[in-house]
Symmetry: C2
Subunit: 409 residues, 2 copies
Amino acid sequence: MKDFFKVTDLDQIFAFISKFPVIASETIPLPDATDRIVAANIISNADLPDFDRSTMDGYAVRAASTFGASDGNPAYLNIKGSVAMGEHPDFFIDSGEAALISTGGMLPDGADSVVMVEHTEPIDDTTIEVYKSIAPGSNMVEIGEDIAKGSILLNCGQKIRPQEAGLLAAFGHESINVYKKPLIGIISTGDELCPVDTAPNPGKIRDINTYTLSAMVQKTGGIPLVFGIVKDDFDSLHLICSKALAESDMVLISGGSSVGMRDLTIKILSSLSDSKILAHGISISPGKPTILAKIGNKAFWGMPGPVVSAMIVFTIVVKPFVEHVKGLAAGERHLWRLPALLMRNISSSQGRTEFVRVRLLEKDGVLWAEPLPGKSTLINTMVKADGLIEMGLNIEGLEKGSEVSVILL
Amino acid sequence: MKDFFKVTDLDQIFAFISKFPVIASETIPLPDATDRIVAANIISNADLPDFDRSTMDGYAVRAASTFGASDGNPAYLNIKGSVAMGEHPDFFIDSGEAALISTGGMLPDGADSVVMVEHTEPIDDTTIEVYKSIAPGSNMVEIGEDIAKGSILLNCGQKIRPQEAGLLAAFGHESINVYKKPLIGIISTGDELCPVDTAPNPGKIRDINTYTLSAMVQKTGGIPLVFGIVKDDFDSLHLICSKALAESDMVLISGGSSVGMRDLTIKILSSLSDSKILAHGISISPGKPTILAKIGNKAFWGMPGPVVSAMIVFTIVVKPFVEHVKGLAAGERHLWRLPALLMRNISSSQGRTEFVRVRLLEKDGVLWAEPLPGKSTLINTMVKADGLIEMGLNIEGLEKGSEVSVILL
């Protein structure tokens, strides 16, 4: 009989995340910073805008000059001048005066609002009628209304989306200090594996995990370092594991799903200098035979060999570790789930958190999740799948029509 | 009084998508193909797996040899041999025989199933007891069970996620024919704009849209081509628009939100060879003053100047066009929306589809969407926002507690 290893619950696994250090930072040009993580708080060094700015085409005025104006009782204002875009107006607006201004223009000194061109009518070259009474501050953005000087623009650990890139541009940050992309070493083991450029002999199959895991690392903001296929023997594996560990910030080794092979992985991980096995088996399905070791400061994962298990373990378990190491703040690590209705009854193995592949189908505006059962070696089930649903440790099953939350793949 | 232009509804805009051709294809290495779009159907040239493969550690047997076996009444089988991983076994399994096999191993000829090691006990070096009756096909994957020879692996227009990359690896596709990344030209106009590396003089602000739009293009799978800031005059604009059109697959020009400027953009777009203005104003808010022209085979967009409007127009209107041009099939263009409850009442302007910025907050397992009102020039509202909610043409408003669907930003 094989030894059943003592499995670790997901919550306990996630508690290990903070044991690993965040990667170092680097300074890169702003146009390269999309999806990168800010490595230090950034404070605004100016007000945005730093002048009162019109948001409409119209006339800059003192609001008081329009009080009481209406269609039947217009106010008459003298045209003092015209604001050129991007220029500081060299005149002053007094009571009873107006200056032609375009959207984005700078209000002249003395003006406190803009009356929209639609609410005015020119009488002659020097006079307009105004048909609307406006309040101070109308149709303009005040100094610092968008961002005040001295406020925090972006927090350390925040991801740079397009809007954050724009914000950095607004404050003249041509380059930006971000966390490096972590290097994630990827090793495949198994004497049955052959490289993608080889025609497999009978009994062999091409290595898939290197490609699925590399792509998942890329999509999580890491850089995959591929170490290829290693033979199932101690010396070969020890050599390549040591090399991968030296060159990477985290290592994933997949395969070796047999008991003997798992024992070998554990033996090698344990033999590496400053090594601690944090988990040997996780209470999830598929993916139970997952190993997490901390070697020096780095996470070293023994991933299951079957492609479905390896992908699910990466999505659910490994990804938050990569996100932590790449500097993403805990509060920013959202795993949004999409509600859907279950299309068929499904059962679950109690005592494990089970992840079921599903395809999403929209019918009459209702989103349905169709379970895609299948062995964990069948990649076609992942190709058909849009996402995963989670069934907790103590759930026996879910009935057709139940509301489920789908983690998109 | 300004001319109110006749606006086009969103549905009509989207009907224009098919007027634009999909970009050409190129062949790239598989590891670079993540998130790229397959440019031709790919057919499997083999079965996967192409041999009967064990999914468990155990013994390859004929199922019939185990029929009737139980804890109290084990079957006794002769050990014929041991399957080496990655090898074609050179022996045959007959009735009453078994061969040791590991997960992923090739079943010997004659065997039709695998009995798990947990359900066996060795008696001596040549005999095992089997405590369980198994059916043919148990604990194995049959030839072609994952993918049958001759079936469609991937369809033209499908996106390559990690699982599709793995599928391609499994069939030996070292390189892959995908659609090129479209080049999207980006131009900013406005005499009030200065470049990011310049300290703005009074009345000027730094160009933000170049950075937000470039990042959005990147995230949509395009390559931004930045043409910088152009002065608001016909000759400069005409020159740069012609250049951008020649060098890009699609062009976005933003700014010029004043009436005069919009007229200039229309005038220039109309003056370019083989030009047709498809829309001049769209019934959305913000973003109404958007222009879509078809010049030759290319889409040329006049985007609003305010950063919030430009981002929303890109997300809702422009993005599906980029996705079409980059080859993504219509059925693959999902815009998943996350349900949430509205935290406050909001009103809407009828006659336009309105997009409201929201922040998402999770409280006691319930997702709330907090509306973030604010002028369309205020980038901080986009930085605070997690998404947008859509209010249809004829909706006057939504009450606190209503269920809304959030488009993630």
